[in-house]
Each structure stands twice: as structure tokens, then as C-alpha cells.
């Protein structure tokens, strides 16, 4: 992907063929192993793709009703303080958008808004890119976190606490970096308190939701709390007088605009927390048992179930329920233009098919590697090469995966199994190392060429992608190094 500048779909297919040939020729993989690992891969990919597709469908419904535009117009009226605008739009709003949409949406929506407010095109790309990094793993209805669960087979409740903690702490770095990128060190000193309050509130909300089984709305919840608190704080950080503009915000329209996401939050809370509803909707499950698979060299994958998919209580089902509610509310409010339905379906298919191809081919590649024992060999190499330094290296591997594949989800699909096995070999806490993987992937994804291109296109900086990337690399490099040190300390502190 880096050398040839290929997209995820092309590189994923090339990786699949490479893994196929190497596994057969060097690792003794048989044809049944290849076939069954493909079936497992499709099941794992479906678990993620269903969420990705339905999250984007809901976003398109909301966008087609003009709701994102309403929110985007309301936010800048709240304050004239440039750094506070950056915090509100480039941090809280971008994180909220990552919570609901992902796929470059935070950048595509907020960069033009910031340019309109007088930010330089470079700042308009850099600020939201860094701002939403902490919310990527639990964003897009937690599709990246779901990929972490699917790739390792570990339960979500086990993975959620450390993942949410590490990402929450990274959020502080994101806030300070956004403030610095907006108005330099004086702004960092001036807005120290709002940054600390917002970071603590957003991170805490994400942590509480994620650790209580509500990880699908953890980033959405964190971003929403950030927006509400940011709105309150703009009363004290107004900059130039904006009192009259503040009065002109149509709050009823803003509330209708948020209907889809309010419905989603309500549905997720109902389904996850009310036991009779949860068990009723969770009654229909796709569950497939796989036999033991072994290679010609004797590497054995034990028999077991593939990824279980609960049809009516899966995150994608909840997204579809929320989409139906949103369609009803917007339709009754007369917000849809003629041809809206066709445009929603068409853009959803056109955006999702290429990224789905990338995800499914990379999952298939990773599954062949895992079943043939290739991941195990790589893990042994990493364990021997890095030893005790591995906790510091771990987030860089996640970041590299996201940089290569353009997505935190893909990085987790490709590298989570490897990190899990390496942690196991070194006797380190697997949940901590996997938190490092996904946190590194989240931060690394914002500097991936695919996202930088989205930013450059929306900010009319085409041809200057290298310049954007250089600035982003400084901020993200510092953030990943900080996460690495944090993981190292936590690993030493917990004794493994």
C-alpha cells in the first residue's frame, strides 16, 4: 500500500494471494484449511461489515435530511474565540461525527466549516484529524472495537476497560494538540481548564458506556457530552461579542436534526440494559461450529465456534431500527427532498462496496495466516526481537497497520491476532497490549494517506498532501509515543 500507493481492496487481494501461496508452499496448508479459514473470515468480516454498512446508511439518512448542515451552521455561532471554536468543532463535533459515521466524515464535514470561520486550510485539516483520533476505536458504532473482539475471540467486556482507559487518556493529548494547532501555546495556557474538563468528561463517558456493554455508542456518547459541555463553556469563552448570533440558533431544528442519533442512543440503551428485550431480540443467532484444522507441518487450530452473529440484537440491527425512526421523523418534518431515497441507497452502496472489499480480503488474508501458523511465527520473531520493550512498540504496530490500510478496523483485523499471540509469548497482559494495538491504530488512521486525501480534497489542498502529512506526523508521532510510554508503565505496574 505504501510502495505502490494501492488502496485497501487492491492490497488486500494481493495480500490474500501472497498468504495463500506462502501458506501452501512453506507452511503445509491444505485445501480444506484454506476453504474453512475463508468461511471463518467471511463470518468475521460480516460481523464488522454489517455495522459499517448500517452506520453509513444512518449517516446518509441524517445528512440527506440536511441535519448535519443544521448542526454545522449552529456550532460556529456559539463563540468567536478561535481556539474555542477549534475545540468545539475540531474536537467535540469531529468526535461526535466519528461516533456516528467515521470513514473520513469528521474531516469532510468540519474542514469546510473551519475554513469558513477563517482557519487556514492546513489548520482546517490538521485540527479535526487530531481531534477525532481518540474516538476512532469506539467510533462508527465501535466497528474497530468489534474487529478487535472478532479477531481475538476475547469477549468485549474483558477488552473494554483498558481500551477505553488508554483512549480516554489519549483524548487529553488530542485536546491540547487541537488547541496548539489552532492558536499556539498562548491558547493552550488560556484554555487549559476547558481542555481538561472536556477531555475528562468525554473520556469518562466513553469509559462508562464501553465498560457497561454499550461500546457501540461509547464514542457517540463521549462526543455528545463534549458538545453539550463545550456549548456551556462558550458562555465564558465567547471571544468577540456573539450574543446576537447565539440568539439566532434554531434549537428546534437542531433537536430534529439529532433525532436519528437520539433514537439510536435510546434503542441501544434499551436493548443492552433491559434484560427481557435483550433476550427476546437475541433469540436468533447465526452460530457455526468448525472442526479442528491442522497444517502438514502439524500446526493445529482447535475445533470451536466461529463468530456468533445475533440477528436482531446485533449493533447493525439497532442501527437499522434507529434509521427507520429517523426516516419517519424527517419524513413527517418534510425534510427530505425528492429523490432522497434513491440518493441515500446509491451513495451507501457506492461508498461501502470498495471499503467492504478491502475489509473482507484483509480478514481473509489474516485468517489464512492465523490458521497456517504464519502469525505465530511472526509473533515469536517479535517476542524475541523486542522482549520487554514490546509494550512500547505495540501501539506503533497498530499505527503502522492503520497507516498502511487506512483504517483502525483493518489494522485490528490484520494485527490484533499477532499482538495477542506476542503478548501471550511474553507473558504480558493481552488486554493491555490489545488496547495499545487499537489505540495506536486509532491515532495512526488519521495520518493514513486515504484520510489525508479526503482532508486535502475538502480543504482544496490537492497536491499538498505531503505537507499535511508532515504536520500530522509530528502530532500523531508524539501521541503514539505517549501511548507507548503509558502502556509500558501500565505493563510494568501491573507486572505483565
Amino acid at each position: 500500500m505504501i510502495g505502490f500507493r494501492w488502496g485497501a481492496a487492491k492490497a488486500g487481494a494481493a495480500g490474500w494471494f501472497t498468504a495463500l501461496f506462502v501458506s501452501v508452499i512453506r507452511f503445509g496448508a491444505g485445501f480444506d484449511l484454506i476453504a474453512l479459514s475463508h468461511v471463518k473470515a467471511v463470518l468475521l468480516a460480516l460481523d464488522v461489515l454489517l455495522i459499517v454498512w448500517s452506520a453509513f446508511l444512518l449517516y446518509r439518512v441524517v445528512d440527506e435530511a440536511g441535519a448535519i448542515e443544521v448542526l454545522g451552521k449552529a456550532l460556529p455561532k456559539l463563540t468567536g474565540d478561535k481556539a474555542m471554536q477549534a475545540l468545539l468543532i475540531g474536537w467535540a463535533f469531529a468526535s461526535f461525527l466519528q461516533g456516528v459515521g467515521g470513514f473520513g466524515v469528521p474531516l469532510a464535514v468540519t474542514a469546510p466549516l473551519m475554513i469558513g470561520l477563517g482557519f487556514s486550510p492546513l489548520a482546517a485539516v490538521v485540527i479535526p484529524s487530531i481531534g477525532h483520533a481518540w474516538s476512532v476505536s469506539f467510533g462508527s458504532l465501535a466497528s474497530s472495537f468489534q474487529a478487535l473482539i472478532a479477531s481475538t475471540g476475547l469477549p468485549g467486556p474483558l477488552l473494554a476497560p483498558e481500551t477505553a482507559l488508554v483512549l480516554g487518556l489519549a483524548g487529553f493529548g488530542c485536546g491540547f494538540m487541537v488547541t496548539h494547532a489552532a492558536d499556539g501555546w498562548p491558547a493552550v495556557r488560556r484554555l487549559l481548564l476547558p481542555v481538561l474538563i472536556l477531555a475528562a468528561s468525554m473520556g469518562f463517558t466513553q469509559y462508562v458506556l464501553a465498560t457497561n456493554g454499550l461500546w457501540n455508542i461509547a464514542a457517540l456518547g463521549g462526543g455528545s457530552v463534549g458538545l453539550v459541555l463545550g456549548f456551556i463553556m462558550t458562555r465564558w469563552f465567547r471571544g468577540e461579542n456573539r450574543g446576537s448570533e447565539r440568539q439566532s440558533i434554531e434549537w428546534k431544528r437542531v433537536l430534529i436534526a439529532l433525532a436519528g442519533y437520539i433514537a439510536l442512543s435510546g434503542i441501544v440503551i434499551l436493548v443492552q440494559l433491559i434484560e427481557p428485550i435483550k433476550s427476546f431480540l437475541g433469540a436468533v443467532v447465526i452460530r457455526i461450529s468448525f472442526p479442528e484444522i491442522s497444517t502438514g507441518l502439524g500446526y493445529i487450530t482447535p475445533a470451536g465456534e466461529g463468530r456468533n452473529i445475533s440477528l436482531f440484537s446485533h449493533a447493525s440491527a439497532m442501527l437499522l431500527y434507529a434509521t427507520l425512526v429517523a426516516v419517519l421523523v424527517y419524513w413527517l418534518s418534510g425534510l427530505f427532498q425528492p429523490g432522497a431515497g434513491r440518493r441515500i441507497v446509491s451513495t451507501t452502496f457506492r461508498r461501502m462496496i470498495p471499503s467492504s472489499l478491502g475489509i473482507v480480503s484483509m480478514v481473509a488474508m489474516a485468517q489464512i495466516m492465523a490458521h497456517a501458523g504464519m502469525t505465530d511465527v511472526l509473533a515469536q520473531g517479535l517476542a524475541q526481537g523486542f522482549g520487554n520493550v514490546f509494550p512500547f512498540v505495540s501501539p506503533w504496530i497498530g499505527a503502522l497497520g492503520a497507516f498502511m490500510t487506512g483504517s483502525n478496523t483493518n489494522s485490528n483485523v490484520v494485527f490484533a491476532g499477532l499482538q495477542f499471540r506476542t503478548a501471550d509469548l511474553l507473558g504480558l497482559s493481552a488486554t493491555l497490549i490489545l488496547a495499545a494495538q487499537t489505540a495506536g491504530g486509532a491515532i495512526g488512521s488519521v495520518v493514513a494517506p486515504t484520510k489525508v486525501i479526503v482532508g486535502a480534497t475538502t480543504a482544496e489542498m490537492i497536491g499538498q498532501e505531503g505537507h499535511i502529512m508532515r504536520v500530522l506526523l509530528v502530532y500523531t508521532g508524539l501521541l503514539i509515543a505517549a501511548v507507548g510510554i503509558l502502556i509500558w508503565i501500565m505493563s510494568t505496574w501491573t507486572g505483565g
Partner: protein
């Protein structure tokens, strides 16, 4: 030869999305049958279905 390559390239550019849909379907849809054939030891069927998946991957590689 150049003309043929240009025509192929134009075809690919014109039909990128439908070809991606075809590739995606070829990778995904044989999966249930693949599971049954692999478990039942139906080698020829498994080869054939993996062939479909492989062609899907080739199309993805070519068109993306």
C-alpha cells in the same frame, strides 16, 4: 497492442463499480456452499468454489 490495453483500461474505468460488486459477490456468496463442501470432503466442489473466490480476488485486484 496499445489500443487493446487502452480499451481494457477504459472498460475498467467505466465499469469500476459494477465490477467491484461482482468481485464482492464472488468472494462472499460461495461461503455457505464452501463450508458444506469442505466439511463433506467434496474436493472438486471445494476447488470449484475456491476458484470462484479466487476470481473475485483477481477482479478486486484488477479493478480497485
Amino acid at each position: 497492442m496499445d489500443g487493446w490495453m487502452k480499451e481494457t483500461s477504459d472498460f475498467r474505468a467505466r465499469n469500476k463499480f459494477p465490477l467491484q460488486v461482482v468481485a464482492f459477490s464472488m468472494i462472499l456468496l460461495p461461503t455457505p456452499l464452501l463450508f458444506v463442501s469442505a466439511l463433506s470432503g467434496l474436493d472438486i466442489a471445494t476447488w470449484f468454489l475456491m476458484g470462484i473466490v479466487g476470481v473475485g480476488m483477481v477482479i478486486s485486484l484488477w479493478v480497485s
